[in-house]
């Protein structure tokens, strides 16, 4: 691991302390979603549709309710419908009309696993038995699974009467295409005319699941007075509060949501599934209700990301300068609109400084679970296609893949096709680091090949509140509201310690519930270290300011005459008088006598999030007789802006790469002709295991984000963007065959190799 560090030196920021929540997590003490138990709790279970598409004619739960031990049943009749209205939810839009239908089917069931009813009973065994007693009458309808099939005229229509948006004039007949989006810059036709070489290819990818190891789980408890407690594993408990309150028609203040420790999310825990059902069941049963998904339910009924069909066309001069780039992206949204096709379009050519770009995207419904965000939603799919074509361009022109990319790389001032001009960005720095890396310059063995690919993610800021309390002994309690999935508490404590000039161990960071802190948007968009870090700095600086005031009060001098340096409050110069410097602890001790508790609040809508570029190098070995691909070496190079806790930055790089390797080689949703998923378990949904991977080398590039006090950029998502293209190119160079479909599973690779040999 090699760091390419620029910028100032800090005492705490940039070091690698043990995380504050570490001991609880290595001893089994940490409480995750399913680890919470409330006295008197009932077990809740969901009845799910066995059909991928059917009209829901009737539901009769009387026999289930008559079963001893059954305390409540919830069906579509218990949850009010919502009008169609799109509201912003972070990087995406949501429509409560669809949210209410995703939680519990109304007119139709739209995918195998779609919830139809929920039961609460005194034991899980009774709840399961009760599910079997619910009589549901379905009118089975023809289904459609594949994105291209869903776009064909005459395809079964998933949402009755849906008319494509973004097309003028508006179509007169319904289709499964919810929306068309377009981003353009310059004149692509002219650009292609100027090109010496044009490469145009079409790619297919399959839906893949986030694959968090912890299934969704929650415990709801609704009191007789209508106040409610909800414990849940989520990336954003304020979002859960908003969605549940809206769906149940409650005042927001009635519902207090506590986020448990979260066992992985990757975007998949940004939506509600069982939470509104658990609350509705608890309200009816007057008992707490716990609901935990099985792994099969997680696969069948929580969001994967889209599968897609992508056409990419790139034209370039002989010297490697790209003259035009065009993309057409068709994304599966699942059974409701809202695939990440828009960010995918925006992301597609972002690593490059181009004059002529046009990207068109289609958001397409089919009878699959509604997709949820997955780490850089849409980005990996778009970049897989674009970077694979860039690699072919390099081969065609006989150019080094780094040199061609350097020639076209996005830099400060580049206007992205989706609108903005980039500030300082690290694309060139990442490419240079790749060029200098030991990996790029290492020899390859027999049947081995090396691929390289770039990636990009926007990153976001948004609403964030952090509360920092100065305790009476000078220690600090920090409350944040963005759930900590992989080291956030450590990073926030480090920034607080750096600001307050106190040891890291003196800061205790916790994730507060929705009743204890101001609003926080969720952990997503790689925003939590950036945004909660910014709010932490603001809160800490407020504490310093207040402490200066307290010292001023004690010394009877103006507040401006107190300085804070090296952890001590001092009178500023001779004129301020001769007073003994005080530490933060000294001030804390007398806080009660100087005006009361000292609390700093950072309540912000964080602006200035900056993109992170990355470059991955992958070596693969392809077995010429079986088509099996083995990753033999892997390096991630990525711009972090500033790595607060480098070990957790490396961890994000390595984890993103590993997920991307799984996506590239083995992961996919497999459906039968019957429209049912055939691999809803970790046995056949094959995520990488320890023996599948090499050590994953990392190089942290630091091009500081000028809009963040420590230069932080979000880093969690970019790391999953380049792997599929890097591996696709590595496989080409190892085996001689270029593949146009994911995953690169052995039967497909072997078939392609044999076909190439036959030629």
């Amino acid at each position: 691991m090699q760091d390419r560090v620029k910028g100032p030196k800090y005492d705490v920021v940039g070091t690698r302390p043990v995380r504050p929540d570490g001991a609880d997590k290595v001893t089994g003490r940490a409480k995750y979603g399913a680890d919470h138990h409330v006295a008197g709790q009932l077990a809740g279970k969901v009845l799910r549709s066995p059909h991928p598409h059917a009209r829901l004619k009737s539901i009769d739960a009387s026999a289930a309710l008559a079963l001893p031990g059954v305390k409540a049943v919830v069906t579509r009749d218990d949850i009010k419908d919502q009008a169609s209205e799109f509201v912003p939810a972070g990087e995406m839009l949501i429509n409560y009309r669809d949210v209410v239908r995703n939680v519990l089917a109304r007119e139709k069931v739209l995918f195998e696993g779609h919830p139809v009813a929920a039961v609460a009973a005194t034991s899980e065994a009774i709840a399961r038995q009760a599910l079997k007693l619910i009589k549901v009458e379905y009118e089975v309808l023809p289904h459609v699974i594949d994105v291209l099939d869903a776009m064909k005229p005459g395809a079964p229509i998933v949402e009755d009467g849906m008319i494509t948006q973004g097309v003028t004039p508006a179509p007169t007949t319904p289709s499964n295409v919810a929306k068309r989006v377009e981003f353009a810059l310059g004149d692509v036709e002219k650009g292609f005319k100027d090109a010496d070489v044009i490469i145009e290819r079409t790619f297919d990818t399959k839906p893949v699941h986030q694959g968090y190891i912890e299934p969704h789980a929650c415990v709801a408890s609704v009191s007789e007075d209508g106040t409610a407690e909800l414990w849940t594993t989520t990336q954003g408990h304020w979002i859960v509060r908003a969605h549940c309150s809206r769906l149940l028609g409650w005042d927001i203040t009635k519902l207090r949501v506590t986020s448990s420790e979260i066992g992985g999310g990757f975007g998949g825990k940004t939506v509600v599934y069982m939470e509104p059902l658990a609350l509705a069941l608890s309200k009816k049963a007057r008992r707490p209700v716990k609901m935990v998904m099985t792994r099969e339910e997680v696969f069948k009924a929580s969001g994967p990301t889209s599968g897609a069909n992508i056409r990419v066309k790139i034209g370039a001069k002989k010297d490697g300068r790209i003259t035009a780039a065009e993309g057409e992206l068709k994304f599966q949204a699942g059974c409701f609109q809202g695939s990440p096709v828009q960010p995918a379009c925006m992301c597609a050519f972002a690593p490059y400084d181009l004059e002529n770009v046009k990207v068109v995207g289609y958001d397409v419904l089919s009878n699959r679970p509604k997709v949820a965000a997955y780490r850089a939603p849409g980005g990996p799919i778009a970049e897989y296609a674009v970077e694979s074509v860039v690699d072919e361009l390099c081969e065609t022109l006989g150019m080094d893949p780094i040199e061609l990319r350097l020639k076209n790389a996005a830099k400060e001032g580049t206007k992205a096709a989706y609108g903005p001009k980039f500030g300082p960005v690290g694309m060139i720095e990442c490419l240079e680091a790749a060029k200098d890396s030991p990996h790029w310059n290492a020899p390859l063995g027999k049947n081995q090949g090396r691929g390289i690919a770039a990636g990009f993610w926007f990153n976001i800021g948004g609403e964030t509140t952090v509360n920092v309390q100065l305790n009476e002994d000078g220690t600090v309690t920090l409350m944040a509201g963005t759930p900590d999935i992989g080291g956030l508490r450590a990073s926030l404590a480090m920034m607080a310690a750096e600001e307050l000039k106190i040891p890291y161990e003196k800061v205790r960071p916790i994730i507060a519930d929705t009743a204890s802190l101001g609003y926080n948007f969720l952990t997503g968009g790689s925003r939590s270290t950036f945004s909660s870090g910014m709010a932490t700095v603001e809160a800490a600086r407020s504490i310093i300011k207040q402490a200066c005031g307290r010292a001023a009060k004690l010394w009877e001098i103006p507040e401006e005459a107190v300085t804070f340096e090296d952890g001590m409050f001092r009178p500023a110069g001779e004129n301020a008088g001769n007073h003994k410097p005080m530490s933060l602890a000294d001030i804390a001790k007398v806080a009660g006598k100087t005006g009361g508790s000292i609390v700093g609040v950072g309540a912000i809508s964080a602006q200035g999030a900056a993109p992170s570029f990355g470059v991955h190098i992958a070596d693969t070995e392809v077995d010429p007789e079986t088509g099996k691909v083995t990753v033999t070496r892997y390096t991630v190079i990525q711009d972090a802006g500033k790595a607060i806790h480098p070990a957790y930055v490396e961890g994000q790089y390595q984890g993103g790469a590993a997920q991307g390797i799984g996506w590239a080689l083995n992961e996919e949703y497999i459906y039968g002709e019957d429209g049912k998923m055939q691999n809803a378990g970790f046995l056949d949904y094959r995520i990488p295991v320890a023996s599948d991977l090499p050590m994953i080398e990392t190089i942290i590039v630091e091009v500081p984000n000028p809009r963040h006090p420590y230069g932080v950029r979000g880093i969690g998502e970019t790391a999953i963007v380049p792997p599929m293209a890097a591996l696709n190119s590595a496989v080409k160079r190892a085996s001689g065959v270029r593949m146009f479909e994911l995953p690169l599973s052995p039967p497909k690779v072997l078939k392609a190799m044999k076909a190439a040999k036959g030629k």
Partner: protein, 159 residues
């Protein structure tokens, strides 16, 4: 049908619980004994988050019936540290940042402990294959493997 009365030893302590035949040992640990450190990630033996030692042998507690634990010894993550002292593996996992979300960590620590009991000096490859039944979705395994190898080295020094 009445429940089974099971007497067993968990982390050195004699315990008793009642369970139905179909309840897994994992279910009994978590819901009858309140030991929620062992996690259920799949319920089918594919993820390893529920790993425990049964009579010293590494198993998935989701693939053992509670009633089968009668008269045996069970070791879970809750028994890994000694008093206030963390096991070297636990310590190394913290130092190497070998966990992100931490849901797989208890199972991996138990599995790694079992590895080092049998093989105090494993290679990287042996460690990777031994832990292949413990899925981690966050880390890419790099830091986990480093932490296990480092703990092994430290334990060999101490031995």
């Amino acid at each position: 049908m009445s429940k089974h009365h099971v007497s067993t030893t968990v982390n050195g302590d004699p315990v008793e619980f009642l369970c139905d035949t179909e309840q897994s040992l994992l279910d009994c640990l978590r819901n009858e004994l309140g030991l929620t450190g062992s996690k259920e990630g799949c319920g089918s033996g594919d993820c390893g988050a529920c790993s425990v030692l049964l009579d010293g042998r590494l198993v998935c507690s989701c693939l053992v019936l509670g009633v089968e634990a009668g008269g045996k010894t069970v070791e879970t993550i809750e028994g890994m540290a000694t008093g206030e002292e963390l096991h070297p593996l636990q310590q190394k996992f913290l130092e190497h940042a070998a966990l992100q979300c931490g849901i797989c960590t208890p199972g991996i620590l138990i599995a790694a402990k079992s590895l080092l009991e049998k093989n105090p000096n494993p290679t990287e490859t042996e460690t990777r294959y031994w832990l292949a039944g413990n899925l981690c979705r966050c880390t890419g395994y790099d830091k986990i493997i480093r932490a296990v190898l480092d703990a092994a080295a430290e334990m060999r020094k101490g031995a």
